[in-house]
């Protein structure tokens, strides 16, 4: 006989009131609760930095859909992070115009400067490096996006200067905005239920 441990979350204790009200607003403009899924994931991610399993389960519960279905949606999209990311996520465009204009040099400079490869986060928790498909800045290539900011006409030097600027703006506090949200996560009232599996 095998014991399977499952975790039951109550979304009302996991998600903040602000998150819930923002998600419920999205629900009101759609016909079904499930159709707010991607917006809900983006809302929680904007507050917590990424989508943990607990976040995913809580959102699924709030929207009355299965976690598996929401996971299918979450993993379908490039901009939903299902792993912890740094405070700044660098999305460097690797599509055709940036390719023809030598984004590779910029990418190489960023990788060397930060000491990370695609998909990795710096040890200080500040930067995560990801590729992005065409950012729509083809006439200003090469380009990258960090947060909501698009950076254009990149050179290796300019990219490194941008990263240094962001780094200095944090005063070494890598968790920054997400500090209070980590505490939210720690207060989860998780109930462990043992299910007997015959």
């Amino acid at each position: 006989m095998q014991i399977i441990k499952t975790v039951t979350l109550d979304y009302r204790q996991y998600l903040t009131e602000k998150e819930i009200s923002e998600i419920e607003h999205e629900v009101t403009i759609m016909e079904t609760r499930e159709s707010a899924g991607i917006e809900a994931l983006k809302i929680v991610q904007s507050h917590r930095g990424w989508i943990s399993d607990d976040s995913l389960n809580a959102i699924a519960q709030l929207l009355a859909i299965s976690s598996a279905q929401l996971e299918g949606v979450a993993t379908f999209y490039n901009l939903i992070y299902r792993q912890p990311v740094g405070r700044f996520v660098i999305h460097i465009c690797d599509s055709i115009s940036c390719h023809l204009n030598g984004y590779q040099k910029v990418l190489h400079a960023i990788k060397t400067h930060l000491g990370i490869d695609y998909g990795q986060t710096t040890e200080d928790g500040l930067f995560t490096l990801l590729s992005n498909v065409c950012l729509g800045g083809c006439d200003k290539a090469p380009v990258m996006m960090i947060g909501q900011q698009h950076y254009e006409y990149l050179t290796s030097e300019k990219a490194v200067a941008i990263l240094n600027g962001l780094s200095q703006s944090t005063d070494g506090n890598s968790s920054g905005d997400f500090l209070d949200k980590a505490e939210v996560g720690a207060t989860i009232d998780a109930k462990i239920v043992e299910v007997k599996n015959d």
Partner: protein, 458 residues
């Protein structure tokens, strides 16, 4: 493009009010002649009359496929107000999921003159009898989202949206939905699935969205640029629109050029200017020291054309006759010092990454092509690789896949195999990339590309 003389308003209707640093407020937009099309449609015209004007204007979709807009709209079932068979809602959706590599025109329209799109959607929704409308915006366009939402809020406050618009009995709600980054959402039925909160996998057609689309209700999906033509056609008439283009196609087109040209950018020009005029007249020609090797005329999913095609007019029919597609009208220019194999590899890698994975030819075919192309670019290609690539082009062609993504990926690949055959063979024969010299950016990325010793190309 902020010049707002009356002449430019007639010759460049879509872009003459574009102001990228500070778009016009509702009041300013109205002062410049905005919302006149919407006023005329809602107050003076029946939906069927608006449809007749749009059909007569010969407007074709600007999102890439070039389908006649009037014909698309005419498939939406219309009902009398008291018809018990009428659906509870009909929907209008703006496809603002602009992710085609080398395409950036919709971004300018949304960031630069958001009220134009809002006005266009009011007229279009009125025409098909929709009471709810969504702008499906790609997640990376943060500024567009902000400015569109501001425009929508203003439109609500001045009764251009909501109940009893401008004293008529027509009502419309308009929302911005921001996506989270996936190219396939640009396919209209995948977009509808995405809006419903599902994985964005294209649906089988029929039923077509006009009959059964969003939430199973009649739905029309059009591209941003297509919509933006609507207010001007209603305001100035179908004949005015047709005479904007000297060719058989009507209206203007927002053309683009990117790659290593002197002045990459966007220009609204009469539909049907030649590639030469666009590349040399507007984009300033090739950057110093570079020669034109080839180009994609309308985004990543179109066939290569060569310098010999420079005098081809950039309209749907002429580009098709030359063996490619007008697509989104954005030139992606290949110079003689960038490797064509490397370029195709970059394009196919994009399609492989963005394949939704639903059908086998696309899910497995695109990564297979990436694998072979990587091998060739690395100098480890074999002669039979070219046959395999040609076969893959066949396996992924129209009719063998669930949607148009894989056939779109085939277009640059197949045409590159035809036009740049020598380059592919050189890679294989020499066991290296002949372009991996000092000029080639691919050199850096390439722990990959095995440079031909001392054979810097060009």
């Amino acid at each position: 493009m902020t010049n707002s003389t009356s002449q430019s308003s007639m010759l460049q209707p879509l872009t003459h009010l574009v102001n990228l640093s500070q778009p016009l407020s509702l009041k300013e937009y109205i002062r410049e002649g905005g919302y006149q099309g919407a006023k005329k449609a809602l107050r003076e015209l029946q939906p069927a009359e608006v449809l007749a004007i749009i059909s007569d204007s010969n407007l074709k979709g600007r999102g890439g496929a070039g389908f006649p807009t009037g014909m698309k709209w005419s498939c939406v079932p219309m009902f009398e107000a008291d018809d018990v068979n009428a659906p509870e809602h009909k929907y209008l959706v703006c496809n603002a999921d602009e992710m085609e590599p080398g395409t950036f025109k919709d971004r300018m329209l949304m960031e630069g003159v958001p009220h134009q799109l809002v006005e266009a959607m009011i007229i279009s929704a009125y025409t098909i009898g929709a009471d709810k409308a969504y702008i499906f915006l790609r997640g990376e366009y943060h500024l567009s989202a902000k400015r569109l939402q501001q425009a929508i809020d203003e439109a609500y406050s001045e009764n251009w949206l909501g109940k009893n618009i401008q004293g008529t009995n027509y009502q419309l709600d308009l929302y911005v939905h921001t996506s989270a980054g996936r190219y396939i959402c640009g396919e209209e039925t995948a977009l509808i699935n995405a809006l419903e909160g599902k994985r964005a996998i294209p649906r089988a057609k029929p039923p077509f969205p006009q009959v059964s689309g969003l939430f199973g209700k009649p739905t029309v999906v059009n591209n941003v640029e297509t919509f933006c033509n609507i207010p001007h056609i209603i305001k100035n008439g179908a004949d005015w629109f047709k005479q904007l283009s000297p060719k058989s196609d009507a209206g203007t087109k927002i053309y683009a050029a990117c790659g290593r040209v002197k002045t990459p950018g966007l220009w609204e020009l009469p539909m049907g200017v030649t590639i030469r005029e666009l590349l040399y007249g507007h984009a300033g020609g090739m950057a110093d020291g570079l020669k034109l090797k080839g180009l994609l005329p309308g985004g990543a999913s179109t066939d290569f054309l060569l310098p010999e095609h420079l005098d081809t007019p950039m309209d749907f029919d002429s580009i098709a006759k030359a063996g490619s597609r007008l697509g989104t009208g954005g030139l992606i220019v290949l110079d003689d010092q960038n490797c064509p194999v490397g370029m195709v590899l970059n394009l196919i890698r994009f399609f492989a990454q963005e394949s939704c994975g639903w059908c086998t030819p696309c899910r497995d075919g695109t990564p297979w092509a990436v694998e072979i192309l990587t091998r060739i670019e690395n100098g480890q290609g074999q002669a039979r690789d070219l046959d395999d690539l040609a076969n893959l082009c066949d396996f992924m062609w129209l009719g063998k896949t669930h949607c148009a993504l894989a056939p779109g990926a085939v277009e640059p690949l197949k045409s590159a195999l035809k036009y740049f055959h020598d380059d592919f063979e050189q890679h294989i024969d020499k066991g290296c990339c002949p372009y991996s010299g000092s000029h080639s950016p691919s050199e850096i990325a390439s722990n990959v590309a095995q440079a031909c010793g001392g054979h810097a190309h060009g």
